[in-house]
Amino acid sequence: MNLYRPFSVSSGSNAPYMRGFWSYERATWATLFCLIPPLVATLWENGGALFPALVLSVITVVGWQALFVARRKIPQRRGVLVSAVIFVVIAGGDAPLFPAVLGLSFGIILGELVFGGRGFSFLNPVVVALAFIIFAYPTITFSSPADWLTYASIPGAVFLIVSRLVSWRMLAGFVVSLIATSSLFGAVIDLGSLTQGYFLFIVIFLACDPATSACTNSGRWANGILSGFLVCVFTGSGGAANEVQPLIMAIFLGSIFAPLIDRIVVEINVFMRSRRNG
């Protein structure tokens, strides 16, 4: 018997594999629904200034996906809209339109579409897009978000965790590791900042993204702990943990390690089972 094969496989016929009530479409709609309050809060704060960025972002992701659907026969998915909305909430007010479209195109193509779409890639396209903007345009700074962003993210966060679309283990690992590491280093980061700024939004919608974080329970703890630790490292002394740059860089590295973490967890599991059962 192959010890690497799961006992049951999912109901869908294509990746990303999901179980039970949740299908890919339902999960996408639920996530989009959860994104409405943060988006409204951001639009409210910025007035109409954000609408061009929102429209352009949606056109960008939908257009690139249409091209890949036509040329490479990848499935048409609405998940790209989730990426566009998250991107606009974080970068819409700060990045000028051309860098924003360029970064988002880079992220959506190299972060997702070349691999075959969501569920096939190992990095969240928004993380790739923001990392691209951070590296390509060091002069662009991300100002603090709408005052209400954290509160507006709470309903979505609660819903995603309760419905188990987002793993509480990942979130718990992240926060615990952040607190532990910062106290270990003698409070290098301001923990009060966790309730403001981008922290909750980015952690829930990017760090805990089920498609790009670890997918075993122990792996989720490890993944969260690693990302939280990296935030502390990148924040440096006296910084806040709610800034875009350290969070995105930490999540970027954490996502890259997620498959390795999963692999190690599976190997350990297989080793234990084969020793137990002979």
Binding site: V9, G116, A136
Partner: protein, 219 residues
């Protein structure tokens, strides 16, 4: 004649040393931040490659197989030292900008690769054509990457302003990432992608594929 011609033209795109054999990547990343350095490096490498191939091919019957690598490296290294000194004498500024990368032509897999794979067992004239073709193929990629990086990194080509910068009252916002090594990786990757889309015979067979649900259930 036709075959000799193929030695020259094949390495340009069809068997390009960088995009198909993935040789000479190190210098392709390091010296392509501007067109002028890419141009100088391409010329230096092509000259070294042609001369070394000619010499190695000329002495191929007298070269003991056991020590052939030593002999080849000695010839290549001598030529590279001459080239390095030549640049220092006549283009000192450029030589400073290229720093150690001219010297590192010695270890460029492309030069030794052509010596080992072609010049060692072919007559002088085809070897020269093959070396020239590979040098030009290398130059094409270097110049393409250099053009993209200089144009979008600082908005100039060969030092002339093409895209007016925001800080000088224009509209172009330079992309800092173009001046960093990762951008060259991405550009070379995109070039490989484009070439392999146009010439599918270059694409490698995938090492694995993702099983569909039915196949997973059966096994």
């Amino acid at each position: 004649m036709k075959q000799a011609y193929a030695h020259l033209t094949d390495p340009l795109i069809k068997a390009n040393p960088i995009t198909l054999h993935i040789l000479g990547i190190c210098s392709a990343l390091a010296v392509t931040t501007s067109v002028s350095t890419a141009l100088t490096m391409s010329a230096a490498l092509t000259v070294v490659l042609v001369l070394s191939s000619a010499m190695i091919s000329a002495i191929r019957h007298h070269m003991p197989t056991a020590i052939r690598l030593i002999v080849q490296i000695t010839i290549i290294a001598s030529l590279v030292i001459v080239m390095d000194l030549f640049l220092k004498a006549f283009a000192f500024e450029m030589s400073k900008r290229l720093s150690i990368f001219v010297g590192l032509i010695v270890t460029n897999c492309l030069v030794l690769g052509r010596a080992e794979a072609f010049a060692r067992r072919n007559p002088v004239w085809p070897s020269v054509l093959d070396a020239l073709g590979n040098g030009l193929g290398y130059s094409i990629i270097l110049l393409t990457v250099g053009t993209i990086r200089e144009l979008f990194g600082v908005g100039t080509l060969l030092g002339y302003e093409i895209l007016p910068l925001v800080e000088n009252g224009g509209w172009f916002r330079p992309m800092h990432v173009m001046l960093l090594a990762p951008s060259a990786f991405f550009i070379v990757g995109f070039l490989v992608w484009v070439i392999r889309s146009l010439r599918p015979e270059q694409a490698e067979t995938p090492e694995f594929r993702i099983l569909s649900h039915d196949e997973t259930a059966q096994s």
